[in-house]
Symmetry: D3
Subunit: 137 residues, 6 copies
């Protein structure tokens, strides 16, 4: 028995704005700086989805990557690509789109679409220099 | 005498929307697809600015890269980073922000801020897979 | 009037073998070394296709990248991806699949599928450290 | 006492074919799609080998990277580079060369060639977007 | 409650020399090879600093990345960039600048400058192919 | 007849110091800033050597890349890798090691070691964001 971690990376391009509507405009400007710009800004997001499990003895796969690719496409990329996270994405309504909160929201979307216990990690990079990881804990 | 080409790469994150206001909504949707999304989307832009010339016999530099860096920061990055190209950037007002038109606009901003004839090329990448080059011709 | 160069990068994974059937086995082994291995080897090829022209005054595009993407997909990627260049690819029959000859063959496939004079450059990378460029000259 | 993880990355170019000989041709085509192409396809594999341990108090090294490099070269790269995994590589005979199974096989080759307990992780990337990790568990 | 890991990557360029003054010149040459060159050599170091914690319910941040960036700049980059690690960097005096020891030294500099328990990992890459990770254990 | 441009990329790690001995210390500090640090600093240099020509009708190669690799190794990498450019490299004696001057010096070393007229371009990158190109003109 062997436990292998399999990662599929996808990319999408989206706009967002960091703004907490429960706080004053001054608080938002002070807290988020340019990320609070009213007209938004954007990123080429890189999303790595890692599933873990034992390779199937017939296929040699932990999970067929074309299945994983389709699920991530349906649940995340089709909704987020060329969209504004705050306004256009159903699962981000009412969620502050920091990279941290966005990664947690992606985990929740994917967790139930994958076999129970398969999802191991979400890594979400906003730029080449800034990224977050979430393990569902 | 030797002619050397020196390139400085900078990055900024911006939102934009492809929409030609002289055309119908239907034309815009058909032409630009998801890039016409009313709420915009965004990119991590990579901008390469290439200057050409003979290295100075005292400094060994074609141009001090810290000068080039400051000029690109002032003229382009400070205006475009964490901004919406259509709404927030002075030199993009009335310009359709395709990568092609954006690169031409950047050339025009930089050309006069640099020594005469120094600017050789603008390369602007919207994603790792899509980029344009402009030589001022 | 402005001339802009637009580049689309695509990736495909293929096997190949360097072997000149007009030469002896000894010549082939001496010339190509491990690249002559009878069972072939393979690469993740990165193909950059550059077209040049004036941005359209309505669309702001030199060429709609979704059209360019579709043409490159039909003419090159669908034929070469997950294939053996020597055995499976129609336009490589009788062509020694060095990176140089492969790039020239790709140029010939794309040249007539694109608007006259639009194709400017093919850049084909076999690895991160080895690549060729061809301008149709 | 400090535990440090040291990673060396190497690259090799190989062909492979996903095909389970215990199953029908129809099953193989349905399961593996283009990866079942009879003539094979190929990749530029990136292999990361991570060893863990306490830095030696004289050398400051967990393991001399030139030793690690030589072991990985002898045991893996010299056998796999410019080879067909299914046909040319001794330790892949009878192993279905999915990335998962290939990573497990590499772990087994390296584990005994390294000091006891030193090997911590194998990361094997088939493309920039697909990779697996194996920790020997 | 959710635990998220946030990573900021910074770059700096430094010279160093591997030389253990408690050992003979012959030992040093044999052990370090070209890394023992008396005049030193250098690298573009990439440093990844990972902090872990629960996103703040108001800001959505584990830690404001501009704070993390400032701390890493003050404690590490301003001291190491364009410097010689053996001669110019206060926290490397008396430390053999192997990547392992350098990463441990960076951990110690950052640990106390960050909120208690926030620092999770240091990843330090000397080249694209050689890197170490340290978790403070 | 077809003209193809073939590029081989190599990497080496070196220290250097920007200092013009014909000028005062004050001039050097003002001109070069931290690059004038007396103890030097360093880089992972990436060197791209491009040769141009017609593919040989027997081999399909413009130039055997293993020959090009060997020449670049002998003339440049073996001299510069893990060295201090100002003190250890014969062809850099008396040359101010700006990226511009270093690229010109590399051109001169390679030009005569390659077939007449074969060398087309040197591209030398000091970091991911700073690079120069020289065409021998």
């Amino acid at each position: 028995m062997a436990r292998v971690y399999v990662t599929r990376t996808v990319h999408f391009n989206a706009a967002h704005r960091l703004h907490n509507p429960a706080k004053s405009d001054a608080w938002n400007r002070r807290t988020y700086g340019r990320c609070n710009n009213p007209n938004g800004h954007g990123h080429n997001y890189a999303l790595e989805v890692t599933v873990a499990g034992e390779p199937d003895k017939d296929t040699g796969y932990v999970l067929d990557l074309s299945d994983l690719k389709r699920i991530v496409q349906d649940k995340i990329v089709d909704k987020c690509d060329h969209a504004h996270l705050n306004m256009d994405v159903d699962f981000m309504q009412g969620v502050l789109p920091s990279t941290e909160q966005f990664a947690i929201a992606i985990w929740r979307e994917l967790e139930n679409a994958l076999p129970a216990g398969a999802l191991h990690k979400i890594r979400l990079a906003e730029t080449n220099n800034n990224s977050v990881e979430y393990f569902g804990e």
